[in-house]
């Protein structure tokens, strides 16, 4: 077994384990931590597929910014342990079998259809856009809207400040 394959299985298992913990954990903070595990292992999976830019964005945006937002909301709401209710009947009798069906169907598609195989082995990513192509687009072709976006974000920050600050 090659090293990338070992890394792949390790990260894949970690991602699934993180996702399951995310759902089952009773403390919102634990769920948030589990989500970080999912995000990071997904980032490594993207790296294995050769999409280094997506991997970096995944860590910066999802692992960084969005997670901070989640933790912040949990803190502001002062959320304690969640209450357990019984499973909804629909989820139990329709959701679980449908979930398994979806899993099997996806596995079948990956294994047997040509497009699925290509996707499964990262064929699409290899012919995909490199970081260089992407940066050429952003900083050359779309330079103007990119710079305008900075003003747009400034406007959003300014607006939030105006509406949220204490009246004088």
């Amino acid at each position: 077994m090659s090293i990338p394959l070992i890394v792949f299985f390790a990260c894949a298992l970690l991602a699934v384990a993180g996702a399951v913990t995310l759902i089952l954990a009773r403390e919102p903070v634990h769920s948030a931590l589990a989500l970080i595990v999912v995000m990071l292992s997904l980032a490594i999976l993207y790296l294995l597929l050769g999409s280094d830019f997506i991997a970096a964005v995944q860590i910066l945006v999802y692992g960084g910014a969005i997670m901070v937002l989640f933790v912040y909301v949990i803190m502001l709401l002062n959320a304690g342990a969640e209450e357990r209710t019984d499973f909804s009947k629909l989820a139990k009798f329709a959701g679980v079998p449908l979930g398994f069906f979806l899993l099997l169907w996806t596995a079948h598609w990956l294994a047997h259809s040509p497009a699925g195989r290509a996707a499964g082995t990262g064929g699409a990513a290899r012919h995909g856009v490199s970081t260089i192509d992407l940066s050429l687009l952003i900083f050359r072709k779309y330079l103007f809207p990119f710079e305008a976006t900075s003003i747009l974000i400034l406007v959003a920050i300014l607006g939030a400040l105006v509406l949220a600050r204490k009246s004088e």
């Binding site: 050359r140 072709k141 779309y142 330079l143 103007f144 809207p145 305008a148 976006t149 003003i151 747009l152 400034l154 406007v155 959003a156 300014l158 607006g159 400040l161 105006v162 509406l163 009246s167 004088e168």
Partner: protein, 493 residues
């Protein structure tokens, strides 16, 4: 290839108005914390100077026509015309805001910065040759508008206006974005001229891709919301009524002009070959817009809200010229827009002054006897109302005249008949205010306050402009025609 510095400089010249507006906006933000509360008024003047500088830099940009930034921005006579109208409207609104904010205790640098950023966004919208760039411009102008609408934070109607505008506006931009994505999926480009090239190059036997048509529909929803045409007008009266009046003056004028400009580019240039598909959409929307606007205005006793409805009706008249979809129709729409901006900003600025602190006096009854108490102000207001109504000697009359004429030339007779009926309906509610001003017994509890110099200057410019367009329309009309021609050069017809 690395772009040469000379080319960069050229590009910068072409977006000079936007750069100037953004720089002034940022300077105001930076200076704001160091200015005493009493001196904040100076920031307003700085913003006004910024707007005038931007107006001057439009002249600079006009010397370098062509495409900039890998064809994303287009400087032609059309974009120049729209720039002048938009920035002019913003300058008038800034002049009208100075004393209003003072009276409401809202004098802040952020206000002026947001107005300048919004104007920069509209400028981008006017010059965009690419849909993603246009989207950024639209968002810049919209997000600033949401905040400006809620600037009177302690007034409930203002909060309502802001939230309504924000929620519905976000949906509208999402529709617009979805539309862009679909058009891109169908044609493989987001360049406005690129879409046109693709659609024209389709063999005649082949139908337009369904995805492109669907995308055009979604773009119409998104832009129709921003220019306030039916059936996307429901939010407008509440927003126009709740927003601070000088902000309403801005919202009802400049964004409409800029968004109409983009709409013309998308429909007339990109989808010019699909005119048979969108003609009836525009036709039906125009009829609905005119009736909803005019009948809605008929029921109002609040002058501010009535003017809000009337601005919906005017979007309908502009759609009449749009439906003609000829060079003449576009020139008429541009002329109408410039006249509309002057009279609408003027009318709302009068309401700004007469509303008094806290915007208490907005009912028609509050205008009773104004003709005796403040004859000059009443005369100005009457002029704007006559122009909105479309009486001769005013810009509004010629705007309507050219719009209807171009529609008649394009053999859209029924639409013109309906527009004529609507103009007559409009007479009732405009004249009611004028009658109240001159023939009703003046209310006793009102002591007129003198009009501040800045506001009077703005009113004077608006009134003079309205008369100028009504008496000597040739110059502006020639410019509008040249602007329309530069658009149709693109449309290969």
């Amino acid at each position: 290839m690395i772009p040469l510095p000379a080319e960069q400089l050229l590009n910068l010249h072409r977006v000079a108005p936007e750069v100037v507006l953004c720089v002034f906006g940022i300077v105001i933000m930076v200076v704001d914390p160091f200015v005493q509360a009493a001196g904040r008024r100076a920031l307003g003047w700085l913003a006004f100077i910024g707007a005038l500088t931007a107006l001057a830099s439009v002249h600079l940009a006009a010397h370098f026509p062509g495409r900039a930034y890998s064809d994303l921005v287009n400087v032609d006579r059309f974009s120049i015309f729209v720039h002048v109208v938009v920035i002019g409207a913003a300058s008038l609104a800034i002049l009208g805001s100075l004393d209003y904010l003072e009276g409401e205790g809202l004098q802040r640098g952020e206000y002026y910065a947001l107005v300048l950023f919004a104007t920069a966004g509209m400028g981008i919208l006017a010059g965009a040759n690419e849909l993603v760039t246009a989207f950024i411009g639209l968002e810049m102008s919209s997000i600033s508008s949401y905040v400006l609408a809620g600037f009177r934070r302690r007034a409930l109607p203002s909060n309502e206006a802001s939230v309504k505008y924000f929620l519905l506006g976000s949906f509208a931009t999402a529709f617009f974005l979805y539309g862009i994505a679909m058009v891109y999926g169908a044609t493989g480009t987001t360049l406005i001229s690129g879409i046109q090239t693709f659609l024209v190059s389709l063999p005649p036997s082949q139908h337009l891709p369904a995805l492109a048509i669907l995308g055009l529909g979604l773009i119409f929803v998104g832009l129709g919301f921003k220019v306030v045409v039916a059936p996307f007008q429901a939010y407008a009266p509440d927003v126009y009524e709740g927003a601070p009046t000088p902000v309403t003056a801005l919202l009802a004028s400049a964004p409409k002009v800029a968004t109409f400009a983009l709409m013309l580019r998308v429909f007339y240039v990109s989808f010019g070959s699909a005119q048979h598909l969108w003609f009836w959409v525009i036709w039906i929307s125009a009829v609905l817009t005119m009736f909803i606007g005019n009948l809605g205005a008929l029921m109002q006793t609040n002058v501010k809200r009535m003017l809000g409805y009337s601005s919906i009706a005017h979007a309908g008249y502009i759609l009449v010229a749009f439906a003609a979809s000829t060079d003449l129709g576009i020139a008429a729409a541009l002329f109408y827009l410039s006249a509309y901006v002057l009279m609408k900003v003027g009318a709302f600025l009068v309401v700004t002054h007469l509303g008094q602190q806290g915007e208490r006096r907005l009912a028609v009854a509050d205008y009773a006897g104004l003709g005796m108490k403040q004859p000059v102000l009443a005369a100005c207001f009457s002029l704007f109302l006559f122009s909105l109504l479309g009486l001769p000697v005013t810009g509004g009359f010629l705007g309507k005249f050219f719009a209807f004429q171009s529609a008649l030339d394009a053999k859209i007779v029924w639409l013109v008949v309906i527009a004529g009926i609507n103009s007559v309906i409009g007479a009732y509610y405009y004249l009611r205010v004028i009658i109240a001003m001159y023939f009703w017994e003046p209310s006793q509890d009102y002591t007129p306050t003198p009009v501040a110099p800045a506001l009077s200057a703005a009113l004077l410019v608006a009134a003079a402009g309205t008369l100028y367009l009504g008496l000597l329309p040739t110059r502006v009309l020639v410019l509008a025609k040249a602007a329309a021609d530069s658009l149709s050069l693109l449309s290969l017809r």
